[in-house]
Amino acid sequence: MSFYPLIAAYAEGLPDARFDEFTEQDVHRAINRTTATVEDFMALMSPAASSLLEEMAGKASRLTVQHFGRTVSLFTPLYLANFCTNHCVYCGFNCTNSIHRSKLSLEEVDAEGAAIAATGLKNLLILTGDAPAKTGVDYLEACTRVLNKHFPSVSIEVFALTGEEYARLVQAGVDGMTMFQETYDEELYAVLHPKGPKRDYRFRLDAPERACRAGMRVVNIGALLGLGDWRRDALLTGLHAAYLMHNYPEADVAVSLPRMRPHVGDWEPATIVSDRDMVQFLMALRLFLPRVGITISTRENAEFRENILPLGVTRMSAGVSTAVGGHADESDEEENTGQFDISDARTVDEVCAALRNKGYQPVFKDWEPIFEATGEGL
């Protein structure tokens, strides 16, 4: 089973011009449907919907409060290493970029974990570049065991792994994974990833599914909007999420909506995704999949993050550094070694205060480890 053959089927049924054929009437119908169909999702993603954003917002907001309440789960990323063997033309960690490369020792991981935990955060996302020789599954397992002392929930955003490797990490205490397909356009994908293990489009595409089969509790997917035609990538992201939710109902599926940000290197995004476009995608996704998690990172600025809060957002990062380490000893943070520049540099306390001010409860802890490895044998 794979989402791969479905992409080709959708591509056939959705030639580029098709988006322009949807009318406002189609959009109205889609908004008012109890359960939106794939056709409705296309209508909601079409240019015709851009004049009906306020109408979509009302329903998106109601559905979000109904299913998730006035709550937002908080997490923060911890970059364990930035060694990378890939040549992704748009990424600050590209192995041809001359940046300082490093990897945290287990002692440093512990110190970083303690520093982050002191801010109150309980959900941690650990990240590495794609360098299995330096930061392979053994290293990730060891880091997870150290970090589980500080965090009830540890998720990974690393290179694509095999099913057995995901199962090992689940056993070690990892309960979530994030995997961005970057773009669902296979030809463009080949251009953007000229060399390195990540060049294997299909292996990456099927990674979230392998994680689901391995028992991963939370699976978060996304496309890096702006690499290619954002509308098509957004559409396929939603369809990919729907596919995972349908086939792996035991997994908690979430979608991130990352837009291209400035980084080291000279690659420029193919398209600029405007705030309006981004909001349309966010709300179309909420109307199509009322129960899907929606994650917004600090790639977006504070004001925009606050404005889109009621429209479908369920998870946010806070207190972020995208440089390796960067939490325990701030003076150690070097310029220009982060994966991308963050736009919301507020502290965890500041983000929480802003959420509460908007009537939302920041949720720190949303999982209790229950496995033998971490559950003290209960």
Binding site: G69, R70, R356, Q361, F364, E368, I370
Partner: protein, 259 residues
């Protein structure tokens, strides 16, 4: 009416409205909700409980007199539910446990088979087990055998606010199952809670409809009143509904009175 009590796990309860702690924009409203609703039982997801938190803990907002009903939200199998229940007890959350085993994150429908398994294990360990299940007579019967303290059938899928969609099946449980029947999930409006109580449910559990109201405290009060109204209506024995008006001249009048 003051003596209209019922019992779960040896505890005598007066209020027939159970409340929850999820989905609030601000947990500090919870004490007000408890007071306004008159509720005596409150459910809390163990996954959200954080006794070591420096950032606030939902438990700090639960009034002392409330019977805590930790739930196993997040459990996908009987085994996970059992582990969560044991953790809840170890963390000092008491012996009551609401079993939620949900392996379907799309519709959040409970897995009856796994729920029965978990109920059997936990009841033997001395827990007061309140399982959340589909309104299914045979699952409910199995829960009775497994040692459940009550049965909590859903009115509609969790969080949908769709009302008492399982009306006829809940009615059968009320008629056939000797344990308290607590209608849980799906009740979106006080009128729907009232209807469940009129039918003879022993209690209802309402979370989303209160927590996501613009004024949760006022909505809690409305639910409290609706539940009491429904209960009184049930106890007072409402007249049967009739489709047609009664014939004004008795059709058997020619028989000349009782034999």
């Amino acid at each position: 009416m003051s003596k209209d009590t019922f019992e779960i796990g040896g505890k005598i309860l007066t209020s027939r409205l159970f409340t929850g702690t999820g989905k609030y924009g601000d947990d500090s409203v919870i004490p007000g909700v408890c007071e306004a609703s008159g509720s005596e039982v409150i459910t809390v997801a163990l996954r959200r409980v954080d006794l070591e938190s420096a950032t606030g803990n939902v438990m700090d907002f639960i009034p002392e007199h409330m019977q805590l009903l930790p739930n196993t939200s997040g459990a996908r199998t009987a085994d996970e539910a059992v582990r969560i229940a044991r953790l809840a007890r170890a963390m000092g959350c008491g012996d009551w446990i609401k079993i939620e085993v949900i392996s379907d994150n799309r519709y959040l429908l409970p897995d009856g088979y796994e729920t029965v398994k978990a109920t059997e294990i936990l009841a033997k360990e001395g827990f007061t087990v309140l399982p959340y299940v589909n309104a299914d007579l045979y699952v409910a019967k199995a829960l009775v055998d497994a040692g459940a303290a009550a049965v909590m059938p859903l009115g509609a899928p969790i969080g949908t606010n769709r009302g008492l969609k399982t009306r006829e099946m809940v009615r059968i449980l009320i008629e056939e199952i000797a344990l308290p029947i607590v209608v849980d999930a799906g009740i979106g409006r006080p009128s729907e809670a009232c209807e469940a109580m009129e039918m003879g449910a022993d209690a209802v559990l309402v979370n989303t409809a209160i927590a996501t109201a613009s004024d949760p405290v006022m909505m809690a009060r409305a639910f409290g009143r609706a539940v009491r109204a429904g209960r009184e209506a049930y106890l007072s024995g409402p007249g049967a509904k009739r489709v047609l008006a009664d014939a004004s001249s008795p059709l058997t009048g020619f028989l000349g009175g009782a034999a």
